[in-house]
């Protein structure tokens, strides 16, 4: 029984870490720019497509493929930021944001599938990550351990970036009071663009390393759109510890539900969401805006 619990815990943790890596970008964007970006999953999907293309058609190595995917996704997303996202930072109502970003997600899905075809894109793992690792009580795919390490590193680096650097100080100032930060000479527009690039890059990174758990397929952007949004809402927009807690909690709810009552699908996941959001409308660790 204890081993089952530990098994569920491990699976939940690796799933939660994937959720975290992808959602944290969305969370930061929501905390700073107040944008409900439903196209976030589409950027993760672009990352997955690019990595798959780089690995299978261009034949580059796994680490380089990740880097290329992240940079490529940022390059693709940047015109969208310049033309569209800038209009909805901070001021628009949610409905406008939802519609604009759903529109962007639809266009990305349509175009991506037109160019690359409507099949599931596999991202082959290097030999080092594809084998199992014996933990003594069960075998676990090495890839899951890699995902957990990636998640922990992402959280740590982000914390350093936001808590310890000049950029982070400006970012936090802009989150707390955008107008005041602007009048103190912080160029919030540049800050927003940099944050957007960071968020998109994280989405692409998560899309690539999480591809074993969330397979990259034509409707990826729609299928997980809701999941990422839910993680942000449960954790509290803009909070790194909140996103970690929410990812693990929701990963646990989902994995436990699927282990113990698979026929209920995502029932327990959404039940947990309703309970948490009803009790903590600003998220577990979020702040009131």
């Amino acid at each position: 029984m204890a081993w089952t619990g530990l098994s569920i815990g491990l699976d939940a943790l690796s799933y939660g870490m994937v959720l975290f890596i992808i959602s944290i970008g969305l969370s930061i964007m929501m905390g700073l720019m107040r944008v409900v970006n439903l196209a976030h999953g589409a950027f993760a999907m672009i990352g997955g497509y690019l990595a798959s293309f780089a690995l299978k058609s261009a034949g580059v190595g796994y680490p380089l493929a990740i880097v290329l995917a992240v940079l490529g996704t940022i390059a693709i997303a940047f015109p969208l930021e310049f033309l569209l996202y800038r209009r909805i930072y901070r001021k628009s109502d949610e409905l406008t944001q939802i519609l604009l970003t759903i529109g962007i997600a639809f266009v990305i899905i349509g175009v991506a599938n037109y160019i690359l075809g409507p099949t599931t894109k596999s991202i082959p793992l290097p030999p080092l990550l594809s084998g199992p690792v014996d933990l003594g009580f069960r075998m676990i795919p090495a890839h899951r351990i890699f995902v957990m390490i990636c998640g922990v590193c992402t959280a740590g680096l982000l914390w350093l970036l936001i808590d310890r650097t000049e950029f982070g100080i400006r970012l936090r100032a802009a989150v707390d009071n955008g107008d005041m930060a602007e009048s103190l000479g912080i160029k919030t527009q540049i800050l927003f663009s940099a944050t957007f690039a960071l968020a998109v890059g994280l989405a692409a990174f998560g899309g690539v390393v999480g591809a074993e758990l969330l397979p990259v397929e034509p409707f990826y952007a729609l299928r997980y759109m809701v999941t990422f949004l839910v993680v942000v809402s449960v954790g509290g927009a803009g909070s790194i510890p909140g996103a970690v807690a929410a990812s693990i909690l929701l990963g646990l709810a989902d994995t436990t539900g699927k282990y113990l009552a698979p026929e209920y699908g995502e029932f327990f996941f959404y039940l947990a969401v309703i309970l948490v959001v009803f009790l903590f409308p600003n998220g577990l660790l979020g702040r009131r805006h």
């Binding site: 519609l99 759903i102 266009v107 969401v273 009803f278």
Partner: protein, 334 residues
């Protein structure tokens, strides 16, 4: 309010035609037009009408109350399943089934309203999604009631008034649906222009101010959600009665998102907008989606972006603008 008057197409009252009468005339004209254009595809039109009711229902909460929701199909789907089960249990009178659907929709609407309108912003959106997904997961699980992924089939309603049977060409179903749409539309026009409807719009514009003048915001919103549930429930009931099958797609996230897209395309906050958006979207979908679903997604996405950027009030505002221009051009002539 001048804006709304323009949107509803109230020209200066030279000879005054009551709004309700105009609505009756327009729905009947649209019904006749549909019958002439698609005489061999009435099944498509009845489906269109059923979805139109869902969009109208969404308009009541999103357009008139400012509640952003991506889980409205829960109301539609639950009511369709309840009606399907009622029919399979032997209650086959179509009017009774409509009533059953309306009640089921009202209950579902009140429950979602209680959850969703409690908060604003992100928590509201996420709660609406979560309610929708919860219902979708349940529909998949309770396959004894819903047929699971096979769908609930074999629903065969009886004769309307005991006289008019549902024929295989769907003529009876079509006339029945147009009539239902007409009645619902007229009643909704009355409701949104009633003091209650106006109060809901006031809450949407500025909920703090509405509270200050003594409106009880939360109960009003929940009540409007209930009304919206009745309309969505009737839509779901029509779906079950006309097609005889209820599938998982009728509770899914895609259905909710699509309804929102239709509403915004036509113009949220106007019943005419909901009507126009739903018709335009579905007629286009009928042709383009059949050719290539991914081209269709790209088009819808681009259209959404264009609407948000260039016509934030939807097609209906463009229509109003055009009508205004034409009127002023005509007036300038001697």
């Amino acid at each position: 309010m001048t804006d709304r008057a323009m949107v509803d197409g109230m020209s200066p009252p030279r000879f005054f035609v009551p709004l309700e009468l105009r609505a009756v005339a327009i729905t009947l004209a649209l019904g006749a037009l549909g019958y002439t254009l698609f005489p061999d595809d009435l099944a498509f039109l009845t489906r269109l009408i059923s979805i139109t009711l869902l969009v109208l229902s969404l308009d009541l909460v999103t357009g008139y109350c400012g509640v952003a929701t991506l889980g409205h199909a829960a109301i539609y789907g639950v009511s369709a399943y309840v009606v399907g089960n009622a029919c399979l249990a032997g209650h086959s009178d179509p009017l009774l089934l409509l009533l059953v659907g309306a009640v089921a929709g009202a209950v579902m609407g009140l429950v979602s309203g209680l959850l969703v309108t409690r908060f604003k912003g992100l928590p509201q959106l996420v709660l609406s999604i979560a309610v929708g997904q919860l219902i979708a997961a349940l529909a998949n699980k309770l396959s004894s009631l819903t047929g699971g992924s096979d769908g609930l089939s074999g629903i065969s309603p009886g004769r309307i008034f005991g006289v008019y049977a549902f024929d295989m060409y769907g003529r009876t179903g079509y006339v029945f649906s147009v009539a239902v749409l007409m009645v619902v539309f007229v009643v909704l026009l009355r409701i949104v222009h009633s003091p209650f409807g106006l109060l809901c719009q006031a809450i949407k514009d500025d909920s703090l101010r509405a509270r200050m003048i003594g409106a009880r915001v939360y109960p009003r919103l929940v009540l409007m959600y209930g009304v919206s549930g009745v309309v969505g429930g009737i839509g779901g009931a029509l779906n079950a009665i006309n097609t005889g099958v209820v599938g998982l797609d009728s509770v899914g996230f895609e259905r909710s998102a699509e309804a929102l897209v239709m509403l915004v395309l036509g113009g949220a906050g106007s019943l005419w907008g909901a009507l126009i958006g739903s018709i335009v979207f579905q007629v286009f979908e009928h042709y383009v989606s059949a050719a290539n679903p991914f081209h269709w997604m790209t088009m819808v996405g681009a259209l959404l972006i264009a609407v948000v950027l260039f016509a934030p009030k939807g097609l209906v505002s463009l229509g109003g603008l055009l009508a205004g221009r034409t009127a002023s051009v005509l007036r300038r002539r001697p």
